[in-house]
């Protein structure tokens, strides 16, 4: 056994060119698969971070009944303890207290059902880039009591910047909430649903309007690293009284996003499956030709008494060794490759860039560094190479070595 291995090893280096060619096809395979997966995972990361950041946050703290019935009666008190608990969390990148409630908006001429979002302006801007979406007038600031509304809503209500908007609804404990608020700015949001319905105002303004007196409908938390999700969940569930509070992860709040990611994953898996197919056949072709090229060499060996089965094992050993070397080199080279693209993401241009920006995503193609994924590519391509090589190598057994030596084949 050991002798065969040494023999196999020596064979490899006897014809460097051939070996290098075969190994390089495996190296490239690993690198390409890693790159593809890196791009795919990069885009999921982007979604998991950016989309979640601007919609629900990774975690949200709310009253235990709020999710089932999103009315103001199911709001909670934002106590000092809760505040210090959240502020002491070093894994958070954004802490967003909110009051949100549906009500009627009227301009006198027309009335429409809207959603009032009471937020802290700077924090909201961090989450959704709202400030940069302002097209007329100005953005909210800490002291203003006005609102910013979507362009489509403004059109429907025939409002301009500086006009007044009447909001009418029900506050905490059913008290009539009514106020006349100044439209300080108009924003443009690519999602019509938001542009037509969302009215943003200061947290304090919303609090007064709805008689909230220190209560909130939710506090959304955005993590620095979404991998900390489970840790963070556990931490808050342990620290807070779950008979009073409900701590939800984005997965249960944003099922659509979760499923979009899953379907993208599914789609991505199909694509990478196809990639493996292409790679597999590339390696198959290479190994097949390698075997063909060495016909004479093998035939001589068999003529000299080497049993074909043993020969097959030796060549198989060669292939496996080349596979391992190739995959290892590929893996090693993948790291700098991925790292380079991670630091220098491919910028998007033109229409695509516009679209990304509208959805508050940076217009770049992100590549994710995931050592585990690279390792996985290493293993898969290695196995793929070996499997692809089996066919050609086995065909050695069928060589008519006499004819080959004689030069007739």
């Amino acid at each position: 056994m050991k002798q065969s291995l040494i023999f196999a090893w020596r064979n490899l280096w006897r014809n460097k060119r051939r070996t290098i060619i075969t190994i390089s096809s495996i190296v490239f395979a690993v690198m390409i698969a890693s790159l593809m997966r890196g791009v795919q995972l990069g885009s999921y990361d982007k979604m998991l971070n950016d989309a979640i950041k601007s919609s629900t946050g990774h975690l949200s703290i709310m009253d235990k009944d709020y999710w089932e019935s999103k009315t103001l009666i199911n709001s909670f008190e934002y106590t000092d303890e809760l505040d210090s608990l959240i502020r002491s969390d070093t894994h958070l990148s954004i802490r967003a207290p909110q009051i949100s409630s549906g009500c009627l908006a009227s301009s006198g001429r027309n009335t429409r059902g809207v959603l009032i979002m009471g937020v802290e302006p700077e924090i909201e801007d961090q989450r959704s880039g709202l400030r940069s979406k302002i097209v007329e007038g100005k953005y909210l600031d800490r002291d203003s009591e006005g609102v910013v509304i979507g362009g489509m809503l403004a059109k429907y209500l025939h409002l301009k910047v500086g006009d007044s908007l009447v909001v009418l609804g029900q506050g905490y404990m059913g008290m009539t909430a009514a106020a006349e608020l100044e439209v300080v700015g108009l924003y443009h949001h690519p999602m019509a649903m938001i542009d037509k319905r969302f009215i943003y105002t200061n947290l304090n303004t919303a609090s007064e309007l709805f008689y909230m007196d220190g209560r909130l409908t939710s506090v959304d938390l955005v993590l620095d690293d979404y991998h900390d999700l489970d840790l963070a969940m556990t931490k808050y569930v342990d620290a807070l009284d779950t008979t009073v509070y409900d701590i939800r992860s984005w997965k249960s709040m944003n099922k659509v996003l979760l499923q979009q990611i899953e379907s993208d994953n599914f789609f991505g898996k199909i694509i990478i499956g196809i990639l493996y197919l292409v790679i597999g056949f590339g390696i198959f072709g290479t190994v097949l030709m390698m075997v063909m090229e060495r016909r004479r060499e093998f035939s001589v060996m068999m003529a000299l008494g080497l049993r074909s089965s043993k020969l097959v094992r030796i060549v198989l050993a060669e292939t496996i060794m080349m596979g391992i070397i190739g995959a290892l080199i590929g893996l090693a080279l993948s790291f700098p490759l991925i790292y380079y693209f991670h630091l220098n993401p491919i910028p998007l241009t033109g229409d695509n860039a516009e679209i990304y920006r509208e959805f508050n995503l940076e217009p770049i193609l992100e590549v994710a560094i995931k050592p585990l994924s690279l390792l996985r590519q290493f293993v898969i391509v290695l196995i793929l190479s070996i499997v692809a090589a089996i066919g050609p190598v086995n065909s050695i057994g069928n060589f008519n070595f006499v004819s080959i030596i004689r030069g007739r084949e």
């Binding site: 009227s106 009335t111 029900q170 404990m173 059913g174 009514a178 106020a179």
Partner: protein, 253 residues
């Protein structure tokens, strides 16, 4: 002579054998109409206390109301302080809301008509469609039952084919002598009970007796109900039609 005797005999026989005939001389729809007319009169003025009960809180409002026939109705909220001064007015099928806090007059849009009024278990629709029970349904007598010590007719109301009513069926218990609406059950089209109204505490109001307390219970929602207690009411007062106007909404006290 013979004929006259025969007729008299037959009538006596009919009265003895079928005492209920007398009742059917008054149709179910007439009974329902009478109960509605009793509640509203030609016009009325009242002071009402409404208590809204929810699982997490309860709150009370006091208001003054004016009505004229089935088409005109005005409510002025007198308490609590945060709500005081709000006025609601119905003219035919339109409803208006005056909010002094922001000096605005709002016409309630269709989308709000099925929303709750002032956070109670009554909808804006309920306030507006006062005579619906008489005109949008076919009525049939189911029998008699006692409610709160009063003998009542039990009447079943089935919406007519085209009437814009969401209920599958409504049952009403109307007291035989006084035509009080003592109890109402609202069913959806699968005949599941959705809303229950119970009246009690009959008192004298002006020229008539009426239940002073009415509780509306949305059966499928735990711990919720709205109670209306009439503190004062007078009927057939003179209110001219100009009273029910947007200008007056801003002036009324």
């Amino acid at each position: 002579m013979k004929v006259k005797f025969a007729l008299t005999l037959m009538t006596c026989f009919m009265i003895i054998a079928f005492p209920n005939i007398q009742i059917h001389a008054q149709t179910a729809v007439q009974i329902v109409q009478k109960s509605i007319d009793l509640l509203n009169g030609k016009s009325s003025q009242a002071t009402i206390q409404m208590t809204i009960v929810r699982p997490k809180y309860a709150r009370s409002l006091e208001m003054k109301t004016w009505s004229s026939g089935n088409d005109y109705f005005m409510v002025y909220i007198t308490s609590p302080a945060q709500e005081k001064g709000q006025v609601f007015m119905k003219r035919e099928t339109d409803m208006w809301n005056w909010i002094p806090k922001i000096s605005r007059m709002i016409k309630i849009p269709p989308s709000m008509m099925s929303q709750s009024w002032m956070g109670s278990d009554f909808t804006n629709n309920d306030l507006v469609k006062v005579n619906s029970l008489a005109v949008d349904y076919t009525h049939s007598m189911l029998g008699e039952e006692e409610i709160e010590g009063y003998d009542c007719y039990k009447i079943e109301l089935i919406p007519t084919l085209e009437s814009p009513v969401v209920w599958g069926k409504v049952n009403m218990w109307i007291s035989k002598e006084e035509y009080f609406q003592m109890r109402m059950e609202y069913y959806d089209e699968d005949m599941e009970l959705v809303n229950l109204m119970e009246a009690s505490d009959v008192k004298q109001f002006g020229d008539r007796m009426l239940p002073s307390k009415m509780v509306m219970i949305p059966v499928k929602k735990d711990g919720q109900q709205t109670m209306m207690v009439t503190l004062e009411q007078s009927f057939d007062v003179a209110i001219d039609s100009e009273f029910f106007s947007q200008q007056n909404m801003k002036r009324v006290r």
